[in-house]
């Protein structure tokens, strides 16, 4: 049966003193429960709702043209902070920030650098860092001296995973060959499947993916063939508990929660880009790694983590940086 609405109507309430903070997010085309990125963001907001008492809501996007209208909708609903989830929304958020100078925005995965508007917080992650760590694990654990990487589309964001991983593998064992293939899709699970099948058939025994749903196909092959796989963005171990040895996690939820907390504390960092690396607790390897990765290796990983945090190790994020490293 019908239940009362959880949120207030837009533009209805204007008693400022008692009003809880309203924070909303616009998802990208994946939708809010994509068991990945958007979902992680939504979990962060829900945590903020629970722990900080903010009022959370979202608007899902079905196509690029929805971004702007969804933002409008949320502006009209008098949210205190509006999140854009994903780098695809970068420009839309920027335009919106210019159009609504009094409205606070934040965006995941986008750095405007010096041009960051005063009413936007950019949040980016050092995806190369956890990728480096999982690469190291792969390099250590491979029996065939061959590992694989499947990229979604040939983007700079994906390059961070790609080259961080390469560097990690090399650091563990310079003799390991890394097979790399881009699927040119974040959705073609069958393609992820056949690329993985081919890599496993050609001797790879561990594959890491940064390919969204396409990677699902890869995890499925690992599950069927009893091979190892490395997940991305969130802990993907539940998808194949015996096969996903670790995951390069991006704690979008933490970032969202932290920004909400800052906002509540009056420390909204408008005009800045916040970088979430290992140091900030914004990225990590999955806690479930201990199930399948030997303790010695995890210990080494911990040491590496410390070195990265201290700056002793600089993880490459692009092809250029990776090549310069050699």
């Amino acid at each position: 049966g019908p239940k009362a609405p959880e949120q207030q109507q837009p533009g209805e309430n204007n008693a400022p003193a008692e009003k809880p903070l309203k924070i909303a997010m616009v998802t990208d085309v994946g939708g809010v429960n994509d068991r990945s990125f958007n979902q992680s963001a939504w979990e962060g907001l829900q945590r903020a709702q629970k722990e900080l008492g903010v009022q959370a809501s979202y608007q899902e996007s079905k196509q690029e043209a929805d971004y702007a209208t969804n933002i409008e909708t949320l502006v009209d609903a008098e949210n205190d902070l509006i999140w854009g989830i994903g780098f695809l929304m970068g420009e839309t958020i920027k335009t919106a920030a210019q159009n609504y100078p009094d409205q606070k925005f934040a965006i995941i995965d986008y750095a405007y650098g010096d041009e960051t508007p005063e009413n936007v917080v950019g949040v980016v992650f050092k995806e190369e860092e956890p990728s480096y760590l999982v690469g190291y694990i792969a390099g250590k654990m491979t029996k065939t001296n061959k590992v694989g990487f499947i990229g979604g589309m040939d983007f700079p964001v994906i390059h961070k995973f790609h080259y961080g991983y390469l560097a990690g593998v090399k650091a563990a064992n310079p003799n390991v060959e890394v097979m790399v293939q881009y699927a040119n899709s974040f959705t073609d699970e069958a393609k992820g499947r056949s690329i993985a099948e081919q890599m496993y058939a050609n001797g790879a025994d561990i594959i890491f993916h940064a390919a969204g749903a396409t990677g699902n196909g890869m995890i499925e092959v690992a599950r069927e063939k009893g091979k190892y796989a490395i997940g991305v963005d969130k802990d993907q171990n539940p998808d194949a508990p015996d096969n996903v040895i670790t995951s390069a996690m991006k704690r979008v939820d933490n970032a969202i929660f932290n920004v909400a907390k800052d906002l509540k504390d009056g420390k909204y960092a408008g005009g800045e880009t916040v970088v979430y690396g290992l140091k900030e607790g914004g990225v990590d390897i999955a806690p479930s790694s201990s199930k399948l990765v030997p303790k010695e290796i995890l210990d080494e990983v911990e040491a590496l983590k410390a070195k990265i945090i201290s700056g002793e190790i600089k993880v490459p994020a692009t092809k250029e940086e990776f090549e310069a490293m050699k």
Binding site: G1, P5, Q7, E60, K62, A65, G90, P156
Partner: protein, 365 residues
């Protein structure tokens, strides 16, 4: 005198049959949606009020509805036009992509005064997509390749071609997954309206151009020799050939025009709303929605305008139901039901007939 009765007859027919049945279908579709919303645990009336408010409560919202409907008018028109000439254009999706791509290329790489830049970009997009559409027409007339297959294949090719172009260094904006923006001279915003509607509302001349295009296509189809030829070929190729019409040329021309319309939609979208093209992870659905728009509009040019507005309103206003947590799928279910009821509007006719009969019988008794 005869003319007048004729007109009246047409008017009555229109009012009584098609339009009434379409409206009835829309109401039925909304009812189905209401049931779904209710099952989901929300209040249908409240959700719909939110949707209607989301369309009508502010001028800005109306403007957004129109903005969202603009490309649908043209993609719907493209499908309707092709239908009228006996072709099924599933390829609007790809034609839209090509039109948008070409418009962005011209809008970014060319430097011209606005008075030239706007038409160059617009027609450039339309012509590029027209050529793209013509490929399917050519394959059909020359090799007998069914246009449904050809356009489905061309859709995917367009998607990857566009992604390939955006991937090129000279075109891609650094640090983004998009191309550079087109120059100001190629944009068609109605900036003077932004004051009253808010700066974020991308009101633009697209709707005016789309309506002009619709009128032109209606004129072309029904009032010119070219339209006569295209329709003749659509109805009966053999008779058209017998009548001296070049059938193969007509098929190519028809696909080219349909393609150009799809491309015009893409170009206007770039010039008025997005200003660039982005790497596409999947089809955006402008073309497939265009098919729906065309069908709701009964494949008539002016019906397409109304149905595009309806479609735009439902998707734009409907997205606001999320504010109370109603999932967006509801809107797709509503749209699907509307189309389904339009398809089966004989159900209503049948019901009406039965009611009539009952009434008559009662009258007799």
């Amino acid at each position: 005198m005869e003319a007048k009765t004729m007109k009246e007859r047409i008017k009555n027919l229109f009012l009584n049959e098609t339009l009434a049945l379409t409206i009835l279908s829309i109401i039925m579709g909304l009812l189905v949606g209401a049931v779904v919303i209710y099952i989901s645990g929300y209040r249908p009336l409240e959700a719909y009020r939110l949707m209607l408010d989301g369309i009508f409560s502010r001028p800005k919202y109306l403007a957004w509805t129109v903005i969202r409907s603009t490309p649908l008018i043209l993609t719907g028109l493209s499908v309707a036009f092709a239908f009228r000439t006996g072709l099924f254009n599933i390829g609007v999706e790809g034609q839209f992509i090509i039109g948008a791509l070409a418009a962005t290329l011209l809008g970014y790489f060319l430097k011209l005064p606005a008075i030239l830049h706007v038409p160059v970009v617009f027609f450039g997009g339309a012509i590029a997509a027209g050529l793209w559409g013509a490929i399917a027409g050519f394959l059909k007339s020359k090799f007998g390749v069914h246009e449904v297959i050809a356009t489905i294949m061309l859709n995917w090719m367009a998607l990857y071609l566009s992604n390939f172009a955006v991937e090129q260094e000279a075109f891609k904006r650094k640090g983004t997954e998009s191309s550079h923006d087109i120059h100001e001279t190629a944009k068609i915003g109605m900036d003077w309206l932004k004051e009253s509607l808010g700066a974020a509302t991308k009101v633009n001349w697209g709707i005016v151009i789309a309506i002009i295009m619709t009128a032109l296509i209606a004129y072309l189809l029904f009032k010119t020799t070219v339209g006569y030829e295209l329709r003749a070929v659509g109805f009966n190729k053999d008779a058209a050939q017998y009548g001296g019409i070049n059938v193969k040329r007509s098929i190519v021309l028809s696909m080219a025009i349909a393609g150009a319309l799809g491309g015009a939609a893409g170009a206007l979208h770039v010039m008025g709303v997005s200003y660039h093209v982005s790497i596409l992870a999947a089809m955006e659905g402008y073309g497939f929605n265009g098919i729906a728009v065309s069908l709701i509009g009964n494949n008539t040019p002016f019906g397409v305008i109304l149905s595009a507005l309806l479609f735009g309103g439902l998707t734009y206003g409907g997205s606001k139901m999320q504010l109370i947590g109603v999932p967006t799928e509801v809107i797709n279910i509503v749209i699907g039901s509307i189309i389904f009821f339009i398809a089966t509007n004989r159900i209503f006719r049948y019901v009406l007939k039965c009611l009539d009969r009952k009434k008559l019988q009662k009258g007799v008794q």
